[in-house]
């Protein structure tokens, strides 16, 4: 039963991931990413990490996919269908396959653990997060704050106008702060 569920989750995850790296359409790639990340949430559920599954669906399904679609919309240009893969993609495929095989072999050769998966209680998770991991937790909140402010400052519209053509922007004086 669990194995069947795992196979379904793996098909969703890997199929979505292959869709992300194979499709020509950027919007389709974003939707494939959503499929893959929902599959990962299913894997978390199989690993008894309900809280992480919830966070995964909320953050990736809710926030990240929306941000991706917004970015695609705002940079909507006629060039997307023309941007295909690199000429070096066979080399990339070879490298990625070798990496996967090496990682898989390393896991395969690792000593077997006979333990059963255990579900941590929500309370234990929260307690550990706010006592033992309190400092990293605060630093993470600072990182989020800095990233948000940085994103706003970087993306702020400074000179209104249509985007200038490729390579023409080299000598263009930029509106600095």
């Amino acid at each position: 039963m669990q194995l069947a569920l795992f196979v379904i989750v793996a098909i969703f995850t890997l199929g979505g991931a292959l869709g992300v790296v194979a499709t020509r359409n950027v919007v389709h790639a974003a939707l494939f990413l959503l499929l893959s990340l929902l599959g990962v949430a299913g894997a978390y559920l199989l690993l008894l990490a309900e809280f992480l599954a919830l966070v995964q669906i909320l953050i990736y399904g809710g926030a990240v996919t929306i941000v991706v679609l917004f970015a695609v919309m705002l940079t909507r240009s006629s060039e997307y269908p023309k941007i295909t893969d690199n000429p070096q993609w066979p080399l990339g495929l070879l490298t990625a396959t070798v990496l996967s095989v090496v990682l898989g072999a390393a896991f395969w050769l690792a000593p077997e653990t006979a333990m059963q998966p255990q579900a941590p209680a929500f309370t234990d998770l929260g307690q550990s997060l706010f006592t033992k991991w309190a400092l990293p937790f605060e630093i993470a909140s600072l990182v989020l704050l800095v990233a948000l402010i940085g994103a706003i400052i970087i993306a702020r519209q400074q000179n209104v106008g249509p985007p200038i053509g490729p390579a023409a922007g080299v000598s263009q004086p930029e509106g600095e702060d």
Binding site: L14, Q88, P163, P166
Partner: protein, 106 residues
């Protein structure tokens, strides 16, 4: 019960696919999506290890899950910043093709 190895192999395969995407794609948006795939592959491994090796050796109770929470946090921040940079790039150069973004290349 699904063995730990299956989850680790799933993570390895997902990481490889994301790695291929980073290497082979030319659109900056698709490269960021592939990086997300790689981060999720790492998270699968972390959570699988947290579930199966609970209390084994130096592994303390479900620390893996907490590290995964931090990975998700940083990934969210990274997506926001990455798309701000892509937007800026598009406004300045009119392209999101990383092969044409060569201002720092000598």
């Amino acid at each position: 019960m699904v063995p730990l190895l299956y989850f680790q192999l799933l993570g390895a395969a997902l990481f490889g696919i994301g790695f291929y995407g980073v290497l082979a794609r030319r659109s900056a948006v698709l490269i960021v999506l592939s990086i997300e795939l790689m981060l999720n592959a790492v998270n699968i491994n972390l959570i699988a290890a947290a579930a199966y090796m609970n209390g084994a050796g130096r592994f303390v109770a479900f620390d893996g899950q907490i590290i995964a929470i931090f990975v998700i946090t940083v990934a969210a921040a990274e997506v926001g910043l990455a798309f701000a940079i892509i937007l800026r790039m598009y406004r300045n150069r009119g392209t999101v093709n990383v092969d044409e973004i060569n201002l720092l290349k000598w």
